[in-house]
């Protein structure tokens, strides 16, 4: 981790080509994997994980973007980025943090952050799937002036710091703020419902991202959350958060304590044009659509979990009613919503990671492709297990002692599709009984499926079923299955590998088709294409 220092310097250079004199960077190690560097440039804190240096400061604007990245894979999987207004950083500067606070802050919040693509000139606050970062913290940061830097307490419930956020937006730059502000101020008090209504399944990330969203409250609540999780970098934030957190109390969702603050702040936020908006606008750059997608589309299945926490919402709502402020209530509900949503997302991401570890050679960091691979792998595993168990059961039957099955199986020529598969074993020199009706070889099928995952090549065809009775209809049945159906005499064509077909999928069908026997008798007389080599020798009927 210390080796990063030299790199850091280079980054510094490229990060702030035009940086002002104020340049200070801190390096702190977060957790085991991340090394966060705090870089103060031009009065703004730019922090980036040492692994992701490049992300910071895409734009050589006056302020550098501040990115907090956790090293986890969630960067890609959950592209929820929370962007903090640059303004926020300005305000943070007022409260330089000492290393202690910062480290504490960072350590506390490292899991909260997700790597985010650098946003130009904006602070990215990745609050997505990471554990529910206390939103209020972020907000706290936003409101710098009144609060002295305090070491950040870990996660404050998301309850609302929004109003504070609004205040802090005052300091923010107009350009960014306006965007948010417009939306924020517009909704001001009434925004809360917006988000909540939008989608119950709104994920935290979405809220944060949607800076333009008219619904304030989510932005407010999210902003606070986001900022909490992300912001932390600056000392001011830390301090602010600390104060907020303390004010909000440790009680997770203690709405009571917060509400008054919230309400007060909201009142002030309204006038503060866009203060809240700005807060919400944590990511001005994030396309609102993304978040909206998340919100709207919100995986339906997630809703169930979401709703399971209705009780919690109701509780909060009840509290809000005490104060008789609809907007506050809605805001609170939205916050709670966001909180639960975030928790849900975290759970899911955890499981995705676990699944990723189970899948061999899975190098995808992308959620969708990873799920794709998981599905494929699961199918292959199922097929493999099925084949193995069948083989295990059938092999004992293959012994010569089992006379009555032998003839029946004879037709199962070894040639069965063997040629189709790159077999790694020499073919057993048995007469290829199957005249032309090479049955879709399981091995082949397996081979196809096993391209990625090793699947045992079935050399079933080689089963010693061949017997002199090659004339029998070469029923291209899976040798393993033969014994049973054969008892009826003529080998019933049987659904060849029906159980397999459903797994084999289409690609193999082409193999099956041509192999289908036209007719038993006809088949026998016709030397199978693949078995020609042996036919003349062994095929008595040919």
């Amino acid at each position: 981790m210390n080796h990063y220092v030299p790199d850091f310097e280079t980054d510094e250079d490229y990060l702030l080509p035009d940086s002002s004199s104020l340049k200070r960077h801190k390096k702190s190690t977060m957790g085991d994997d991340d090394i966060m560097e705090l870089l103060w440039q031009n009065g703004q804190v730019v922090m980036h994980n040492q692994n992701q240096r490049s992300v910071t400061n895409k734009k050589p604007e006056t302020t550098s973007s501040r990115e907090i990245r956790s090293g986890n894979i969630e960067d890609e999987t959950t592209p929820c980025n929370l962007f903090m207004q640059e303004d926020e950083m300005v305000s943070w500067l007022h409260y330089p943090t000492d290393d202690n606070n910062l480290d504490m802050y960072l350590h506390n919040n490292d899991i909260i952050y997700q790597g985010l693509p650098s946003s130009s000139a904006s602070v990215i606050i990745p609050a997505t799937s990471s554990q529910p970062p206390p939103p209020p913290e972020a907000v706290a940061v936003a409101v710098p002036s009144p609060r002295p830097p305090i070491p950040p307490s870990k996660r404050v419930e998301e309850e609302p710091v929004q109003p504070k956020f609004a205040n802090f937006l005052h300091f923010s730059r107009p350009n960014k703020l306006n965007v948010a502000g417009g939306s924020g101020s517009g909704n001001g008090s009434g925004s809360a419902p917006g988000t909540v209504k939008a989608t119950p399944a709104v994920t935290q990330s979405t809220v944060v991202e949607s800076n333009d969203r008219p619904a304030n409250e989510p932005p407010q609540s999210r902003a606070s959350r986001v900022t909490d999780s992300n912001a932390l970098v600056s000392g001011a934030n830390v301090g602010f958060r600390g104060s907020l957190m303390s004010s909000f109390g440790a009680a997770g969702a203690s709405s009571g304590g917060r509400e008054p603050e919230t309400y007060d702040l909201s009142a002030s936020s309204s006038p503060g044009t866009g203060g809240s908006g700005a807060s919400a606008s944590v990511e001005p750059q994030k396309p609102p659509t993304v978040t909206e997608d998340r919100k709207r589309k919100g995986v339906d299945i997630d809703d169930t979990e979401c709703y399971s926490e209705d009780a919690e919402f109701e509780y909060h709502n009840a509290k809000k009613q005490k104060h008789g402020s609809t907007s506050a209530k809605r805001t609170r509900a939205a916050e709670v919503h966001n909180l639960s949503e975030r928790r849900r997302r975290d759970r899911i991401n955890e499981k995705m990671k676990a699944l990723q570890e189970l899948i061999p050679r899975c190098n995808k960091s992308d959620k969708a492709s990873m799920l794709d691979e998981a599905i494929e792998y699961l199918k292959q595993l199922q097929m493999q297990v099925q084949m193995m168990s069948m083989g295990y059961n059938m092999v004992p039957m293959m012994f010569p002692g089992v006379q009555r099955y032998m003839p029946a199986m004879a037709p199962m020529g070894m040639g069965m599709g063997m040629e189709h598969v790159g077999m790694n074993r020499p073919m057993v020199p048995y007469p290829p009984v199957l005249p032309g009706s090479a049955m879709p070889n399981h091995a082949a099928a397996a081979a196809h499926l096993g391209q990625r995952f090793p699947v045992p090549r079935f050399q079933m065809a080689q089963m010693p079923m061949m017997g002199p009775t090659s004339s029998q209809t070469a029923n291209p049945q899976d040798p393993m299955m033969n014994p049973f159906p054969m008892q009826n005499g003529n080998q019933p064509r049987g659904p060849f590998a029906d159980p397999y077909q459903q797994y084999i999928g289409l690609p193999q069908t082409h193999m099956l088709q041509p192999q289908n026997q036209t007719g038993m008798p006809a088949a026998t007389s016709k030397p199978s294409s693949s078995k020609d080599v042996r036919n003349p020798e062994h095929h008595p009927t040919s």
Partner: protein, 88 residues
């Protein structure tokens, strides 16, 4: 799955994820109920992990048995070759 790039970030719609999760759910023996839409993503993922682990165990177990079986039969027999093919 197609993912659209937006602002440099990969954009995976929730629909895609939901679709994949439902596909996965269909493969799981426990969740393949008629009301297949009721499982949450978290549950599906959890079940998948468990199922994969159990399949792994089963494969290992079958491999053991097959190899034991292999030792009991004549190596030249076709059965042996079959068994060997089954054992990865």
């Amino acid at each position: 799955m197609s993912s659209r790039r937006s602002r440099g970030t990969t954009r995976i719609t929730d629909e895609q994820i939901a679709e994949l999760v439902s596909k996965l759910q269909q493969l799981l023996p426990e969740l393949r109920n008629h009301r297949s839409n009721k499982a949450s993503a978290s549950k599906v993922l959890q079940e998948t992990c468990n199922y994969v682990r159990s399949l792994h165990k089963e494969v290992d177990d079958l491999s053991d048995r097959l190899s034991r079986l292999l030792s009991t039969i004549d190596d030249d027999s076709p059965q042996a070759s079959i068994i060997r093919s089954l054992i990865n």
